[in-house]
């Protein structure tokens, strides 16, 4: 069942003004419940505009969006449907404002009208999902490190129990360890909740590792929407639109180009390892 249906969606910034720019052109998209979708595309390709439309922050110039079968428009727009889509902005740590981490995480659920009991449960659950322990709840969000702040901000969205979680470059500006941790947390969260996760990233390895399908955006249009393996086998076309492929895919391809018989449809380290072992074993047997 598709949780998200987009039909003929277009969005134009500053319509009718000299600065008019077309951000999205005629987007048609369907995302299944429980899917993890990675969005890639170079700066200005319309990724951020697309996710803001899904959250109802901006209204489409034309076309429509259905979430769980309900149209994101008019009456529904303000409440239920929008809050069913949790959007984590870029650098979400700048949205923290409460005195304690607990209060900050509770802000979203409270706005959604949860009972105090449910809020408490949600706060405790979501802080666990982002990999912080409960002692953080009583601290001020402003004394935390950058990575911890970001985790708190993400917990604030998760606590709203969205059926679709959207993350706009969640790992930007984090150190390698922080990035790794956060990606693991997102994967674990998805495994536990089985909800739909959409995330934008410029790190192809992250995209390849967690996505079921990858949406490639180029100049406001969908360039391709397919599994990571199929997407990253189109290296030359991707490079033309300013994108790259994961390093492991590059390495395996180079080996293949040298004339070795190796399965080059790999996108993660694990798959690469498997392919290489197969290759070496095959040669030994000969």
């Amino acid at each position: 069942m598709s949780v998200l249906e987009i039909k003929n969606l277009s969005y134009i910034y500053n319509k009718g003004l000299p600065s008019e720019t077309i951000a999205l052109k005629n987007i048609n998209l369907s995302i299944n419940a429980g899917e993890v979708v990675g969005i890639i595309g170079k700066t200005g390709s319309g990724k951020s505009t697309l996710v803001q439309l899904l959250n109802g922050l901006i209204e489409p110039t034309s076309g429509n969006i259905h979430i769980n079968g309900k149209e994101l428009k008019g009456k529904n727009k303000s409440e239920e449907v929008c809050l069913d889509v949790g959007l984590v902005f870029q650098y979400p740590e700048y949205q923290l404002f409460e005195e304690t981490v607990y209060k900050d995480i509770a802000f979203g659920p409270r706005n959604k009208g949860f009972t105090e009991e449910k809020i408490k449960e949600q706060v405790y659950n979501s802080i666990k999902f982002v990999g912080l322990d409960e002692s953080f709840l009583e601290r001020s969000p402003f004394e935390l490190s950058g990575g911890e702040k970001r985790k708190v901000a993400i917990a604030g969205i998760i606590a709203m129990e969205p059926s679709i979680l959207i993350l706009d470059e969640p790992t930007a500006g984090l150190d390698p360890m922080g990035r790794e941790e956060l990606m693991c947390n997102i994967i674990n969260y998805h495994k536990a909740r089985k909800n739909t996760v959409i995330f934008i990233s410029h790190i192809m390895e992250d995209i390849a590792r967690v996505s079921d399908r990858v949406l490639v955006m180029n100049e406001g249009e969908i360039f391709d929407f397919d599994t990571p393996k199929n997407i990253f086998s189109r290296r030359d076309e991707l490079q033309k639109i300013g994108l790259n492929i994961p390093q492991i895919t590059k390495i395996v391809r180079m080996i293949k180009e040298k004339g070795y018989d190796i399965n080059d449809k790999v996108v993660t380290i694990e798959q690469g390892e498997e392919s290489l072992i197969k290759l070496i074993k095959g040669r030994k047997e000969k």
Binding site: G86, F89, Q95, F97, F107, I157, M160
Partner: protein, 271 residues
Amino acid sequence: MLGNIVLGQYIPGNSLIHKLDPRVKILLSIVYMMALFFAWNYLSIIVVTLSVLALMFLSKIPVKLYIKSTKVIILFMILSAFLNLFYGEGEPIFKIGFISITQQGIQSSILVVLRIIDLIFISSILMFTTSPNDITFAIESLMKPLEKIKVNVQEIAMMMTIALRFIPTFLEETDKIMSAQKSRGAKFNDKSMIKRIKSLIPILMPLFISAFRRACDLALAMDCRCYDSSKRRTRMKTLKIGRIDIFAIIFLIVLFVGVIICSKMKNIAII
């Protein structure tokens, strides 16, 4: 959302008024306002109004924009005209109970409205034709004499420049924070006043924090480049009084003297 707020009112152009030295423009605006104080009869206010209209024409900025700028205080204008109507002395023309309207009352309410309109037009000419940066330079330059009494004019000018430079940045930031809080279900249009004020906290808190963060970063960056406000600094663009500026000053002196003479003359019945 906040993107459609016009920042400053500067409209780039190449007219005579645009070319005037910003210092001269500021001084002239002040003189104009003083002239308006003296214009207490029809003749003098007409002289001022006509000259303002001439300047508006010279600035080559659509009249529509000038009219738009008066909209903000239209209520204030109506109110002061209304009040002035009843405060005239002399023979009443119209009388209901204790309310009476005199010839003088009508005159003063017409004058008040014209003066307010002129005042707005003059400041609009200044704001439309001078970039915020030019205004800052001009103020710095005009405040130079204060250095004699140990006022650090450069520091004040630098603060003004920085403040101006950060307005768009903070607007953009406010926009971002508002979107972020909205997606967490924050509402900004609640009917209850108290709730509405409370709903500002999630925006203002992050905004203040980021303002302080930016201020610290900027201070550090300035320190790294050895900025020292007590040192005399040169500018890439220097202000020079040219021929048009001198013409403008002469025009203004003539106008000012003219207005004073006109205001001393007996009221000529025009209406």
